[in-house]
Amino acid sequence: MTGEVLITAENVGKRFPLRQGVLHRLSGQPAPAVHALNGVSLEIRRGETLGIVGESGCGKSTLARCLVRLHDCDAGRIVFEGQDIALLQGKVRRAFNRRVQMIFQDPYSSLNPRMKVRGILGEALGVHKMRPAAGIPGRIEELLALVRLNPDAADRYPHEFSGGQRQRIGIARALAVEPEVLVADELVSALDVSVQAQVVNLLLDLQERLHLTVVFVAHDLRLVRHISHRVAVMYLGKVVEIGPTEALFSAPRHPYTRALLDAAPELDPARRSRKVAARGELPSPINLPQGCLFHTRCPHAFDRCRTERPELSPRGTGHLAACHLADFGKPETRT
């Protein structure tokens, strides 16, 4: 995967201020906030699937929403084809929205319950003038076939479909505007295992056929590994490791990635272990730890980790990790 860089996130930060009382506001202390993103940097290349993985509270969904500008970031910037997306206005912004599409996690709330499928797809086609009015019914049929739904689905309401079928409708809506980038936020996590596989297969197939760039945000390591060319691991609003899928999964270079991989149960009963992968719990995103964000749980932490926050640095071809232990997990030295 050596496609050109399509989207760049540069040091992206996002805070969600908490409600505070008058007394606290008068006290002059800094307003408390959830620090959702704390300097995220990554690149998304044309035609690839970038997996973004992490546990709840790691900021992966916030990042996905920033990428399609559902949130505006308050530090750093996101650049799409050389332009800062925060500065896009009017027509240009609408064009950006068309080219970078999002698919949502919850198949039950992401479709307007009062609109038939025909209305949902027709609206997307009409607003972006994808087809002349006469061509819209035909296109709707094509889109439904693309996501493997019957043509008669067009005249039904979302509540008449199962979760998996609704996710297909969500995908069809996104594809209606012929986007180049699909940001899928926990696309299949609400679905039954057997249905997950159908939707994953559909996504893989569509990506090949339509040359899509996919950002696949999920907490399920097995899925992310299956789908992605490259993977970014996030922890407390920061990318701690990013690299080609195989390299990252076979030789993780950050202690958190290692813990995450060890904790994820494998399908092979012979490979079970009784050792706990990571002790402790996620620190509060309101009061972030000093230094490395992972040091409170890291078995390898030393003094420097508690004072200085490590930045991403190269570990191999296209493989970066944010850890003071440059040799951590290095294939030769791995014990």
Binding site: F96, R98, M102, N112, E123, L149, R156, E160
Partner: protein
Amino acid sequence: MTDVTTPMMAARRRRVLPRPLIFGATILLASAVVAVFPAQVAPYDPNAFDYGALLQAPTSAHPMGTDNFGRDVLSRVLHAYTIDMQIAFFATVFPFLFGTVVGALVGYAGGWAEVIFGRIVDAVITFPFLVLVIAIVSVLGPGLVNMYIAVGVVGWVFYARIIAAEVRVQKRLDYADAGRAMGYTHARIIFVHLLPNAITPAIVYWMTDMALAILLGSSLGYLGLGAQPPAAEWGVQIADGKNFMATAWWISVFPGLAIVLTGLGFSLTGDGLAELLRTKR
């Protein structure tokens, strides 16, 4: 192809009308017919004096009796439908429309718009509704149009509050974000997507409000601030009969029953609509 149509889904699509809606709508439809064609259904002229038949108890000639001027109570009750149904509609439709739009905008915008709106709501609900309306009417002068204005000035706040709360809930759902991510305009998201999902409680409230408006119109009529005598209006009629309650109860009781029946029609319709419009997820 993975989807199948099941009998259960088909049944859900062939919605049967909720029973309260059928009853309620029947009452309202009949009321509307009487309101438009009172002269065709009423046996007498509502304002014709008959000094030969003063304060007559209900008979076959006068099923609801006559009042102190010998006017036929049934005819007056039927003619009153014209005014009272008008009051029900015009006293509520402008608050409904205006309140809905304001509420949708406030709920969607949030932030300062919501804070300011909250203060307006507080200011309005601090005063009892009737007192406020009476105050406005006494400044503007009595009469139906001034009553509509008075009710409208205050009433929209309640609709706006309902819609704003509902829109606030709806806008957090993913389909609203999906619209934004699609590049749809705010106006489209508010009025095409959020409002149809948020409006049901306001419609139900509207139905109850129409029933309340009739009561209000009658109260103002009773107080002499609404419809003016000798117009046939239920409140005015009840007021007319108040001196004869002991001897000629029918003058007041039958208009009262008409109010109850119409109110029931609106309430049942509201309940039925709530059931019919319930969002399926």
